[in-house]
């Protein structure tokens, strides 16, 4: 018990910049915008949210179109998931206020020409509106939303235990790049291979979602995700050779020379791998070599928010401090 208390104290002291647990019933605690090159990650654990009146509150803030989409989902679980996903997006974005208080339900969304969802800011009073970017991802047991200012963002979450129906290498040969197939083939332990596969998948998904041009604009085979380790250039099966960052090599996208994609990979809530990709600062040398500044919060909108950075809920794998 003493050790637990001690650990809590350490975590608290390590995270002075983190907001403390705040309970604000029926309201959302407003927040500072993330600074440029900083990412905020919010997540809901759907199994924690079953209260009917709370779910109704969430339903209230959705647009008619979103409500339709929720009810089109097959079964209670899927409907709840869809509802929580939209509620998370709306409540999260509504928190980041500049001048005026924005109601979650009054936010408008649109899709870019490739279908990527974006906020459609209503220019109130001609004030300069924050170029807030977001991206969501969910599984049956987590719903996550990443937020940045000024950078495109893509995120993907997958359950750590997820098993493919297909054979991993057959799948990789069909969809991944030769380098990645080689990396996976070199792993003899099936469980380790499966884990590395899931990590690669989430990173690739996060990249494509950050690009925002649709799956077909950047087919998975046309780019390689590479872990850079201390022993450069060696394909290593040793689990103790720690990667210090992740880079992407794109075969047929010349724009990649001007873009600078930064990646982070972490274990989230003990149960998931989460990958985040943001468009880096173009003035930096190299390919996103600085660790990503990330703040992670678990939330139940209108009920509670908890900053979990520095706790067991966030275990950095690569790309984070």
């Amino acid at each position: 018990m003493l050790l637990l208390l001690l650990r809590h104290r350490l975590n608290f002291m390590m995270n002075i910049r983190c907001f403390q647990r705040s309970f604000s019933a029926a309201s959302l605690a407003p927040l500072q915008l993330p600074s440029p090159m900083e990412t905020h990650l919010w997540y809901i654990l759907p199994n924690e949210v079953k209260n009917a009146s709370l779910l109704n509150q969430y339903l209230e803030i959705l647009s008619p179109c979103e409500k339709e989409n929720v009810f089109r989902m097959r079964g209670d679980q899927l409907q709840r998931r869809a509802l929580l996903a939209r509620a998370l997006v709306r409540t999260t974005i509504a928190r980041y206020q500049t001048n005026s208080q924005v109601e979650p339900r009054s936010l408008k969304f649109k899709k870019n020409i490739y279908g990527k969802p974006e906020v459609e800011w209503q220019d109130v009073d001609g004030s300069h509106l924050p170029p807030l970017h977001f991206n969501i991802s969910h599984t049956s047991s987590i719903i996550a939303c990443g937020v940045t200012v000024n950078s495109a963002i893509g995120i993907d979450v997958e359950e750590k235990q997820r098993k493919l129906k297909n054979n991993i290498l057959a799948f990789a040969r069909r969809y991944f790049s030769p380098y990645e197939v080689g990396l996976l083939t070199a792993i003899s332990d099936p469980e380790f291979q499966r884990q590395e596969f899931i990590k690669l998948w989430t990173l690739k998904e996060a990249y494509v979602k950050a690009l925002g041009r649709g799956f077909s604009a950047a087919p998975f085979k046309t780019f390689t995700i590479r872990f850079r380790t201390a022993t450069q250039g060696h394909l290593s099966e040793r689990r103790d050779s720690k990667a210090f960052d992740v880079v992407v090599d794109s075969f047929d996208d010349p724009k990649n020379l001007t873009s600078n994609w930064q990646f982070a990979l972490l274990e989230l809530a003990g149960s998931h791998y989460a990958a985040i990709c943001i468009e880096g600062d173009r003035t930096t040398e190299g390919n996103g070599t600085r660790p990503m500044k990330l703040t992670v919060r678990r939330t139940i909108p209108f009920v509670e928010d908890e900053c979990v950075s520095g706790t067991d809920a966030v275990v950095a794998i690569v790309g984070l401090t």
Partner: protein, 137 residues
């Protein structure tokens, strides 16, 4: 002269009887002439409008099987041509696995941009038959 006894007519059966050899896909809502009055509403998604030959029922059934297996749905769950992958709970990894399963089952190869436009079981079945036909040509 057809006589309509019930007030509701199942969309799927009506579409099949209307035009067996051609159909407008991705139609969201259509009013069919019942008492001789003309079409009232016809709503389509322009970007995905295409007229295609409807896939054979066997193909649709096979796709349903593969989808149910991938998503671990019970055998008796209602999956039909109109079922949307997303509404059944398929995420992007599921969809890609489904496409791979379809490629193996039917001996075809699906391009990324075609895969991206698959939203329903029917879309997948139509695409499959399209590809099979091109292969044979």
């Amino acid at each position: 002269m057809a006589s309509v006894t019930g007030t509701s007519i199942s969309m799927a059966s009506f579409k099949a009887s209307l035009a067996p050899s051609s159909r407008i896909s991705n139609v969201k809502s259509v009013s069919f002439p019942i008492s001789g009055k003309s079409f009232t509403t016809l709503r389509m998604q322009p970007a995905r409008f295409r007229i295609s030959c409807a896939a054979k029922p066997e193909t649709v059934t096979k796709v349903c099987e593969i989808v149910k297996k991938q998503l671990a749905l019970p055998d008796d769950s209602a999956v039909t041509g109109e079922s949307k992958f997303a509404a059944l709970g398929a995420d992007s990894l599921d969809t890609v696995e489904i496409v791979m399963g379809l490629e193996e089952e039917f001996g075809i190869s699906v391009e990324e941009d075609s895969a991206q436009s698959i939203a329903t079981v029917q879309d997948a079945a139509d695409l499959i038959e399209n590809l099979i036909e091109k292969k044979g040509a």
